[in-house]
């Protein structure tokens, strides 16, 4: 009975959240608030940031930069993934570059972007360059997994290539693309905050930099919670869109 109560869809996550807050509250009792602020102090900080308007203003900057970089990566990465997946020459040319993009450390991109394009555009560039390989690789994986029997069928009925790409490849790539988008969104909020921390004076990352300088650890926690909420909300939204798109026929 107790187990089925905990297994319920909504109760178990709520229980784990309450447990996490209790452990956090307990631990914070042993430390100075500058080292580990309590959940209540963090909430107060979050609340005052929200009331002052700083949370929304800085958050808005971060969201715009994050979505701009992410959107550009989707716009560039999806066709590039199709090109690499469908064309052997393009695969030979571009696939090694995609691997280089994927393994280059985030901090290297950050520092290079500061030199190359100036500080204000660093967050957008860093989000773009770190999420681009995730989109490309997932699109390629989707293309590689396309049902060959369906392609053969379309070939026998002499369906033209463009329609085959649009109506046979694309629907089968969508689940992989959504997986790529989910991974890329997770990376987006981490990358944009880190880039803002080091390169600009607006945005959540910049807010975190100020909090660190002033030793406002509760504010640092509040900004972190804002980023976690942002990540969770966008992830849920993406899951919803994915279900809407796929449930009809899957």
């Amino acid at each position: 009975m107790k187990n089925s109560f905990l297994k319920s869809k909504h109760i178990a996550p709520l229980f784990s959240l309450v447990l996490f807050l209790a452990v956090w509250q307990f631990i914070s009792g042993f430390y100075n608030p500058v080292i580990v602020p309590s959940p209540i102090e963090t909430w107060h900080s979050f609340f005052s940031l929200a009331v002052s308007g700083l949370l929304w203003e800085q958050g808005r900057q971060t969201i715009i930069r994050g979505f701009a970089g992410f959107g550009l990566a989707v716009l560039a990465g999806t066709p590039l993934g199709f090109l690499i997946g469908l064309n052997q020459t393009a695969a030979s040319l571009f696939q090694p570059l995609v691997v280089v993009l994927q393994v280059t450390p985030l901090i290297s991109w950050l520092l290079l972007a500061m030199i190359w394009i100036g500080f204000s555009r660093v967050p957008l560039f860093v989000v773009f360059i770190t999420t681009l390989p995730l989109i490309i690789i997932n699109t390629i994986q989707g293309i590689k997994s396309v049902d060959l029997q369906l392609l053969q069928m379309a070939g026998v009925f002499r369906v033209d290539k463009l329609r085959i790409i649009r109506e046979v490849y694309f629907p089968q790539v969508i689940p992989y693309l959504f997986a790529g988008l989910a991974a890329a969104l997770g990376t987006t909020w981490r990358a944009v905050a880190m880039a803002e921390l080091l390169s600009v004076n607006q945005g959540v990352g910049a807010g975190m930099a100020v909090a660190r300088t002033n030793l406002e650890t509760a504010a640092l926690f509040a900004w972190t919670i804002f980023l976690i909420i942002l990540g969770l909300l966008t992830d849920r939204l993406l899951s919803y869109l994915s279900r809407q798109k796929l449930n009809q026929w899957k």
Binding site: M153, F157, E167, W249
Partner: protein, 246 residues
């Protein structure tokens, strides 16, 4: 030299790696008829169809009478697009038609197959038999000169199979075009085929060619000559019969 209104394999050789599937394989049948290929599993029947569609090329020899033909096909698996509705699955293979012409053609074939009321459903909601009927619909709707049927009724129960065989016969009577029908079921072949090619195991050779002049749709399997044909084909497939009997 085979005339153009004949479809034929001329000394065709086809191997996959070390396995020889067709070894000097030849046959020729008049166009506009139903040709049944019957043989043991894995004897290379599907390879013959793939050569006809152009999905495979012969290693040696040539195939005559198929150049410039519009080819339609029903595969062993239904090969439907699960993200498209029943109507859209047929529409997918129809090109160079106005939307109105396309819709008319789709509705005509869906009504003939009893699928019209499911036109907006997705394949996941259809039964196995309905999916196979949809695959047949798609193949019939596609403007074709040659229809290839690759054991399309393999996984279906006997009553449904008989129903679909009758549908194919009915379609041919309305619009007689060349059909190459691969099957491992003697009854299907006897019900449909004007020519029945009995094939051997690999490398494939023609054990016998039977010609039946009774039109499909008018055949009573329990009456002669069908029981004799049945026993003859069965004997050939079991390796007991005499070649080139009919």
């Amino acid at each position: 030299m085979i005339p153009l209104d004949y479809i034929g394999f001329n000394h065709v050789y086809k191997s996959f790696g070390q396995t020889s599937v067709l070894d000097d394989f030849s046959f020729s049948v008049p166009a506009g008829r139903i040709i049944c290929l019957i043989g043991p599993s894995g004897c290379g029947k599907t390879t013959i169809l793939n050569l006809l569609t152009g999905l495979e090329q012969p290693d040696r020899g040539y195939i005559s009478g198929t150049a410039n033909l519009r080819i339609s096909c029903v595969f062993q698996e239904t090969r439907l697009l699960p993200w498209k509705t029943v109507s859209e699955n047929i529409s997918f293979v129809l090109q160079d038609l106005t939307m109105l012409q396309r819709q008319k053609l789709i509705d005509l074939h869906l009504k003939a197959m009893g699928l019209y009321e499911y036109r907006n459903s997705y394949p996941k909601t259809l039964s196995g038999g309905m999916k196979q009927r949809l695959a047949l619909c798609r193949a019939f709707a596609f403007p074709h000169d040659l229809l290839l049927l690759d054991e399309p009724f393999k996984s279906l129960d006997v009553p449904l199979r008989m129903e679909l065989v009758q549908q194919v016969a009915g379609m041919w009577i309305k619009n007689p075009r060349t059909i190459v029908f691969v099957t491992h079921d003697i009854l299907d072949a006897l019900l449909l085929g004007h020519f029945i090619l009995v094939l051997s195991a690999k490398p494939t050779t023609t054990l016998d060619t039977l010609e039946i002049n009774i039109p499909p749709g008018e055949r009573v399997i329990a009456e002669e000559p069908f029981p004799a044909y049945y026993n003859h084909i069965l004997a050939l497939l079991e390796g007991r019969g005499e070649h080139e009997h009919a």
